[in-house]
């Protein structure tokens, strides 16, 4: 879900996704490379992402991913679910 969210703002390469998640989560969440790329490829296989090769900021060839329509739908569904889940946990934890 986090990966999908990272790509909501536009296409990025894998390293960029990891960096964005790391920075945006206040350095709390660090995505292991061993989990990142399998996840990216799995999402691509399933049709949530589409990929193309392009030039990165420092003129290196990199594989860029972006959300597809499927991916966008999946992202909104996942985030709604997450909101419900975290709200429910909050209720439980705040109960006296």
């Amino acid at each position: 879900m986090l990966i999908l969210r990272a790509l909501q703002r536009g296409s990025m390469h894998g390293y960029g996704v990891a960096e964005w998640i790391h920075q945006t989560s206040q350095q709390v969440l660090k995505v292991e490379e061993g989990a990142l790329y399998p996840a990216l490829h799995r999402l691509e296989l399933r049709g949530m992402l589409s990929a193309h090769w392009g030039m990165s900021d420092n003129n290196r060839r990199a594989k860029f991913y972006q959300l597809t329509a499927e991916g966008k739908k999946r992202l909104s569904a996942e985030s709604q679910r997450w909101a419900r889940l975290s709200a429910a946990v909050a209720f439980v934890m705040q109960a006296s």
Binding site: G14, E33, P38, H41, R42, W53, R61
Partner: protein, 900 residues
């Protein structure tokens, strides 16, 4: 489900772009690594620690690459491909084993498919006409053991219209002589068929051009427009060069013009699967094309038609037979021979119909049982090959225990290992069966050529081409053998406790003994099967030897048979006899010729002529006849007990004479006083004087004993223009005789076709061709079986001994002598061989009973054959087992223990 479909499609796309995908993945990971490096550099980490850091966070690039790649592949397919290449490498590493395995499988599968294609062509294939299952073959039951499939014309015509039972009834001649067609220069013999009016209508195949023959053509003189013929597409191409205006052209057959009214397509072959006639003439035109014979006129004396009918839709076979039974009586009683009617009434004369989707072929009767027996033997060989391979693979698998155990420990599932071992055996099985199937058409067509040449008729065809049935059969065989071979070793190898596998190596013997039980049982089964095959071959070979030794009654060595066809020349009666006499003299003047005579029927050619005769005041008996020339018995070397040979002056004027063989003489004159007496033919009211008694000789076939027979002089033959065979006793080469006969014929009877020379040895061999084929092939299979079993016994024992090297080394170090070691190893197989022989003997005794009908003067339980087979098998088993035993005794104890 959309996402998984998407994944599937993408994976398929990746299947074709493997290399590019690999490159891209590597590049992607490299990019990430480079970016990481830059960031760390920016953070101030030194160069040396850089590599360590990246490696720490990133890990081994190869492994990520592997994981990503796996994501994109079809796991099953990749595993399969990997297993196949692994198995191929393993097989290449032991070329001896692989070659032997492939060879034995190829033989087994190839032989089975070849024999089955023969059986398919001869017995199973239906006629290529619509609704062939509605066709039935008619026969005449006269109370004998087998029905008669040849009809005389009057009976056929009486059955031709039975609309209640049959929608169509047709007949064709089964005495296939070629038609003499006038060509641009001279005449040519063309294979043809005389067919009745409903022939084409019943076979429901539309013509390519023009029309086919109908009932209107089947009249004397043809239809009002003249005599019509229909030709085959092949003939149209060959003779008329596919001229589109062929309809209406004339063909001159036997000097009479016929009009071509139609051309039949290539797929139409008539009603006899083994013939390919080029010209179809109406049945009523038989006296024209078959001159000087006139089978139609001969009425009940000529049995020359095969009759086939098409059942009315909705009529069952039982209903048809019941209806036939009711019409049999009236048809019989309409015949014009009261004696015959009375005789047949007593024998419960009736017509019968049987399923005939494949038409009728006489060759089937000779070859059906031999072919089925051969198929059983082939199945046995295939089973043997499969058992052999399975046990060898199991034995070999036991050698790889360590490897398999290690892989199990490293995380492979048992199922995965079984899959891989199965693929290994499957690869062997598939390659072997493909090799066998590739070879089988060649084997099948050479066997078919052997069978058809032995019938003596050059126009006979046996179609063994691959069709759906043969392919399905081959596929089934392939699958069954693949599973048999593949499954057992795979299951066996991965059974058992993991620890035991790794721990023991070559030490823990007890647990291993158990694992050798299955291969031993398989080997014992193999020995039993091999014994059954050897016994079968022994019985057939003994039967064949006895068949040859039983003699034919005459001496076929150095005897030539020259057949003359006198149909197309004008002389007959006494004038023709003078021609024969001159031919005889001309032949006798050749160097090496001892004596010359003539015969009407060549012995052992399955032709026959019989009549009823009785001694005055005695019972009527069936006597088989032949008409022969002077000096016949001297030429044939048939012993003459008393009396004299025929002479050239024994013409009709000097009184009818006959020579009887021993059986006929004792039958007609039980008081043994036949010489000089008279016998009568009750129907013709003619009387013959017996001038000699000769020894019995075989008549139409080798397997039947000599029947009571009588010989009449050729000068007194009822036929005006008989076509006789000259028999020549020659000391030396026989081929010059052919040229002599040709020049004599050219001089004395220029219009006849050239005479044909065959040796009596050939005739004798042809008459037992089925038995010869069986004996030769069964010996070949028995040899293969022995070889395969020997290899199996050697192989399994060698593997087993190799595993026990250290144990043997210890024993020898502790003082065991060489002889004891040899005996210890040898004993292992001894039990297998003995158990196999005992069970094999029981199976052979039971199975050989089914062969009794194929054997001549040989009991299926012939003790000599059984004993000899056991001896051969035990000897082979001993030799095969001795080799590994000797190798074991040569083990150096110190090396053996050290290796461990």
């Amino acid at each position: 489900m959309g996402s998984s479909l998407h994944a599937f499609l993408l994976r398929i796309k990746m299947l074709f772009r493997k290399r590019r995908m690999d490159r891209e993945m590597a590049e992607e990971l490299e990019f990430h690594q480079a970016m990481l490096r830059e960031k760390l550099e920016g953070q101030g980490i030194s160069k040396s620690e850089l590599n360590q850091a990246t490696r720490q966070t990133f890990g081994d690039a190869g492994r990520w690459h592997e994981r990503l790649r796996e994501l994109w592949q079809f796991r099953g397919l990749e595993n399969l491909l990997r297993d196949i290449s692994f198995s191929a490498r393993m097989l290449k590493k032991s070329p001896g084993f692989t070659t032997v395995a492939l060879l034995t499988l190829a033989i087994g599968v190839g032989a089975n498919t070849a024999i089955f294609s023969l059986i398919n062509g001869l017995l199973l294939r239906p006629l290529p006409v619509p609704h062939a299952d509605q066709l039935v073959v008619l026969s005449i039951h006269e109370g004998g053991p087998t029905p008669n499939y040849s009809f005389p014309a009057p009976f056929f015509r009486a059955l031709e219209h039975q609309p209640a039972i049959f929608s169509d009834v047709f007949a064709y001649n089964n005495n296939g002589r070629p038609l003499q067609v006038q060509a641009r220069s001279g005449s040519e013999d063309v294979p043809g068929m005389e067919v009745s009016g409903q022939f084409f209508q019943a076979l429901q195949t539309p013509p390519l051009l023009g029309r086919y023959l109908t009932a209107a053509d089947d009249n004397t003189g043809g239809n009002p427009a003249g005599l019509a013929v229909v030709i085959s597409e092949n003939f149209w191409g060959r003779w008329f060069h596919r001229d589109p205006s062929v309809v209406g052209r004339k063909l001159v057959i036997a000097n009479v013009p016929f009009t071509v009214v139609g051309v039949m397509p290539k797929r139409f072959i008539g009603a006899d699967l083994m013939q390919r006639p080029d010209i179809f003439v109406p049945l009523s035109a038989e006296p024209i094309v078959d001159a000087p014979r006139h089978n139609i006129d001969e009425g009940l004396n000529a049995w020359w038609l095969t009759v086939i009918a098409r059942l009315q839709p909705g009529v069952t076979l039982q209903q048809a037979n019941a209806a036939l039974r009711t019409v049999s009586g009236p048809i019989l009683h309409a015949a014009d021979d009261p004696n015959y009617i009375a005789q047949e009434d007593k024998a419960h004369f009736r017509f019968q119909a049987e399923p005939g989707s494949g038409g009728y072929a006489m060759a089937r009767f000779f070859f059906r049982n031999p072919l089925l027996a051969l198929l059983a033997m082939c199945a046995g060989i295939l089973l043997l090959a499969c058992l052999n391979l399975a046990s060898l693979l199991i034995a070999r698998g036991a050698m790889r225990e360590r490897e398999l155990a290690t892989r199990l420990a490293m995380g492979a599932t048992r199922w995965r290992l079984i899959q891989q071992l199965f693929i290994e055996s499957l690869l062997l099985a598939v390659l072997g069966t493909i090799a066998g199937i590739a070879v089988s058409p060649l084997v099948g067509s050479s066997l078919a050529a052997f069978l058809t040449s032995s019938t003596g008729d050059p126009t006979v065809v046996l179609d063994t081409s691959l069709d759906l049935r043969v392919l399905v059969f081959a596929a089934v065989i392939a699958i069954v053998s693949a599973v048999l071979i593949g499954l057992m070793p795979a299951l066996q190898a991965t059974a058992g406790n993991l620890n035991d596998h790794i721990k023991d190596g070559q030490h823990a013997r007890q647990l291993h003994e158990q694992r050798w039980i299955l291969p031993r049982i398989l080997m014992a089964l193999e020995v039993a099967l091999a014994l059954v095959l050897v016994v079968g071959a022994g019985l057939l070979a003994t039967s064949l030897v006895r068949l040859y030794r039983s003699g034919v009654g005459f001496d076929p060595k150095g005897l030539a048979n020259i057949s003359f066809n006198m149909d197309k020349q004008q002389l007959e009666g006494d004038a023709l006899m003078r021609v024969y006499q001159e031919i005889g003299q001309g032949l006798s003047h050749q160097p090496g010729v001892k004596s010359v005579s003539f015969q009407f029927i060549t012995p052992l050619s399955h032709r026959g002529w019989n009549g009823n005769y009785s001694a005055p005041g005695g019972n009527t008996h069936v006597i088989w006849l032949n008409s022969v020339g002077p000096n016949y018995f001297e030429t044939m070397r048939i012993p003459m007990y008393m009396g004299r040979e025929f002479r050239w002056n024994d013409t009709n004027a000097s009184g009818l004479k006959i020579i009887l063989n021993q059986s006929a003489a004792s039958l007609l004159f039980p008081d043994h006083n036949a010489l000089g007496r008279q016998i009568v033919d009750p129907s013709e009211k003619t009387s013959y004087q017996v001038v000699a008694i000769v020894a019995d000789a075989k008549y139409s076939g080798m397997m039947d004993s000599a029947p009571p027979a009588g010989y009449v002089p050729i000068q007194q033959d009822e036929q005006k223009k008989p076509s006789l065979n000259a028999v020549v006793r020659v000391d030396g080469p026989m081929t010059p005789l052919a040229a002599t006969a040709r020049s004599l014929a050219a001089r004395l009877a220029p219009t006849i076709p050239p005479p044909i020379l065959t040796t009596m040895n050939e005739v004798v061999n042809n008459s037992v061709s089925a038995q010869r084929m069986m004996a030769i092939l069964s010996l070949f299979f028995a040899g293969c079986a022995l070889l395969i079993t020997a290899i199996g016994l050697y192989g399994t024992l060698a593997y087993a001994t190799a595993r026990r090297t250290s144990e043997i080394g210890i024993r020898m170090a502790l003082g065991a002598k060489r002889g004891q070691v040899i005996a210890m190893v040898f004993r292992q197989n001894a039990w297998v061989a003995i158990a196999g022989c005992i069970s094999g003997m029981i199976a052979a005794v039971l199975a050989s009973r089914a062969m009794a009908s194929l054997l001549f003067e040989t009991s299926p339980h012939d003790p000599w054959v059984l004993l000899a087979s056991i001896a051969v098998l035990l000897m082979i088993a001993s030799c095969a087992s001795l080799l590994p035993a000797l190798q074991a005794a040569r083990i150096d104890p110190i090396l053996a223990i050290r290796c461990e």
